[in-house]
């Protein structure tokens, strides 16, 4: 079983996000970078499938040089090799362009199974996984919390709004991860040592046969960013007793805020 994991390096979720002076991107100086949490589930699931069915796990990413740190972490968890597309033209490209790049990599090295995070927690686009599957002409199943591979088919339990659904697809297929799928392992010390020797192949867009211009011209473009408006100073509900506070809160929510 040849498994590919689509991985993105993102700011840790506890990061304080600030906007640059041009108002179109975020300040990256003081940010701690991590593997996108949903991609961590993807790495873990790929390793578990490899342990059960054999094969190898390849980590594929689009990003700047420092993305190799995230790939190296996945290799330390147990993945076999990494491929990074590092090209200035791909910097800040939109979800569709990212999917196009990843699909071009995957076309050159065919895989039985592709696992992607449901979204990256920076762009929150939810777009790359299904779009990669579309470009490759293979089925995708979104938001998976459990999977089972039998013969050349994968059966997935996916979450939908208000429930779960079980779907089956022939391999090759792509699925995206949902919280609850697994508990990602930590990289062990021997794992970290071994990862230093595992290969990470760094390529440009030209290397995978994509015109940089096509990627530079993303169909969607961020024209402005802002921090959501702060809530006006909150009001503490005071009262002599818990009872008095509860009465006052319900009165305010009903009469002033009109939300109940």
């Amino acid at each position: 079983m040849e498994i590919a994991v689509l991985l993105k390096q993102v700011p840790a979720t506890e990061s304080l996000i600030e906007i640059t002076d041009d108002g179109k991107s975020i300040k990256t100086d003081d940010i701690k970078w991590v593997i996108n949490p949903y991609d961590e589930f993807a790495v873990e699931e790929a390793l578990q499938i490899k342990e059960a069915h054999g094969g190898s796990v390849t980590i594929i990413s689009v990003g700047p040089e420092k993305t190799t740190e995230a790939i190296r972490t996945a290799l330390a968890m147990g993945a076999d090799k990494g491929i990074l597309i590092n090209d200035p033209a791909a910097e800040g490209c939109d979800g569709l362009s990212t999917a196009r790049i990843l699909a071009a990599v995957l076309k050159e090295a065919p895989f039985d199974l592709i696992i992607a995070g449901q979204r990256a927690v920076d762009d929150d686009n939810f777009q790359v996984g299904p779009a990669v599957a579309e470009f490759l002409g293979i089925p995708n199943i979104s938001m998976v919390i459990k999977q089972e591979i039998i013969d050349a088919k994968i059966r997935c339990h996916g979450t939908i709004d208000g429930g779960t659904v079980i779907l089956e697809a022939p391999l090759p297929a792509l699925f995206t991860t949902q919280r609850g799928l697994n508990e990602p392992r930590y990289a062990s010390l021997p794992g970290i040592m071994k990862a230093k020797k595992k290969p990470i192949d760094i390529k440009t867009l030209a290397d995978i046969g994509i015109e940089a211009d096509r990627i530079r011209k993303s169909l969607t473009r961020i024209v402005a960013m802002q921090i959501p408006p702060e809530r006006k100073d909150g009001r503490m509900i005071t009262g002599d007793s818990a009872q008095a506070k509860a009465v006052e809160l319900v009165r305010i929510l009903h009469e002033e805020a009109k939300v109940i």
Binding site: G95, A131, V247
Partner: protein, 321 residues
């Protein structure tokens, strides 16, 4: 020439999702601005009784793609039917709800049609004749305005972010002959949490955190039931195994924008705040007067949630008679 606005309706078991009405209403506003028609498309197996309802939210035409093969949402079949229709009609704008299904469908459609997609929009406006979509990034820590270049412009809108407008009109219904093409995904079964309000669509969300001190969320569940709301949880409550992962509100869970969000025993880690900051009114109940959540709340009560929440429930009961 591209023309018209197409709204993709979503139904489950013969009931439209609330976000469908929001997508139609927003689609109507866009169509009025562009001075064109709003067409709704609905896919499924038993749609005869529900299709006409879409006319009450501004659809001039309602396209009904009805077939036993469309009874359940399958990415490949739905993408093919809708993409074929879009290729034939060439709408300028496609709008749909960014539900789990809508996210999957819109992502696949954007790749099939090589069309720009603004995912999970919280607002849509025009600058001259160009659409500017506002969407949240970094789990709600940032709001970004984006432009879309190409046709059609696909807008997946966040549930609960846009207002529903009823219209007097009744749209004309047209049947669409469907050809799902060669599909490979197979539906096995589904299970729905009956009687549970979907977190992302709820008008009221009451969440519990570490202060719940255990898996017993009864006090919160009772208040949620009184308010027809949904129960959410912080990441720590989910990590402790007190609530399922599907209840998690935050940057690595669901982003919610209810009218009323009540945070009980939640300190207010930045990753949680990201998931609920677009709520209209926020109430925080916490023992610790220094909890960061209070600085992000409209109203705060310092105290024991196990004492206060039942008292609130009692008052709500009185209010409702």
């Amino acid at each position: 020439m591209s023309q018209g606005v197409l709204a993709i309706a979503e139904q489950i078991e013969g009931v439209f999702r609330k976000v469908t009405y929001e997508a139609l209403s927003e689609g109507r506003r866009i169509a009025d601005r562009l001075n064109c028609d709003l067409t709704a498309i609905i896919l499924g197996a038993n749609l005869d009784n529900i299709s006409k309802e879409l006319g009450q939210y501004g659809a001039d035409r309602i396209i009904v793609a009805q077939s036993p093969t469309l009874s359940e949402y399958l990415t490949d079949a739905y993408t093919t039917v809708i993409a074929d229709y879009i290729n034939k009609e060439n709408p300028a704008v496609v709008i749909l709800g960014a539900s789990t299904q809508g996210k999957d469908l819109s992502a696949r459609l954007s790749a099939r049609l090589n069309a720009p997609l603004a995912m999970d929009c919280v607002a849509i406006r025009f600058e001259e004749n160009n659409i500017i979509a506002t969407r949240s990034m970094y789990g709600g820590k940032i709001l970004a305005d984006i432009t879309l270049d190409g046709n059609p412009q696909i807008l997946a809108i966040r549930p609960n972010a846009m207002t529903i407008a009823n219209t007097a009109g009744a749209g004309s219904i047209e049947k669409l002959d469907t050809d799902t093409g060669n599909t490979v995904l197979q539906f096995i079964e589904k299970s729905l949490d009956t009687g549970k309000v979907e977190l992302t669509e709820a008008d009221t969300v009451i969440s519990g955190g570490r202060g719940m001190a255990g898996a017993d969320f009864t006090v919160i569940e009772e208040l949620a039931q009184l308010l027809d709301g949904a129960v959410g949880a912080s990441r720590s409550a989910v990590d402790e195994g007190w609530r399922p992962a599907s209840d998690q509100v935050g940057q690595t869970g669901k982003v919610v924008s209810p009218n009323l969000y009540i945070a009980c025993g939640i300190s207010g880690a930045i990753q949680h705040l990201a998931g609920m900051s677009s709520s209209k009114v926020v109430v925080a109940i916490n023992k610790d007067p220094e909890a960061p959540i209070f600085s992000k709340a409209d109203f705060g009560i310092e105290g024991d949630l196990f004492e206060i929440v039942p008292l609130i429930a009692e008052q709500v009961k009185k209010l409702k008679g």
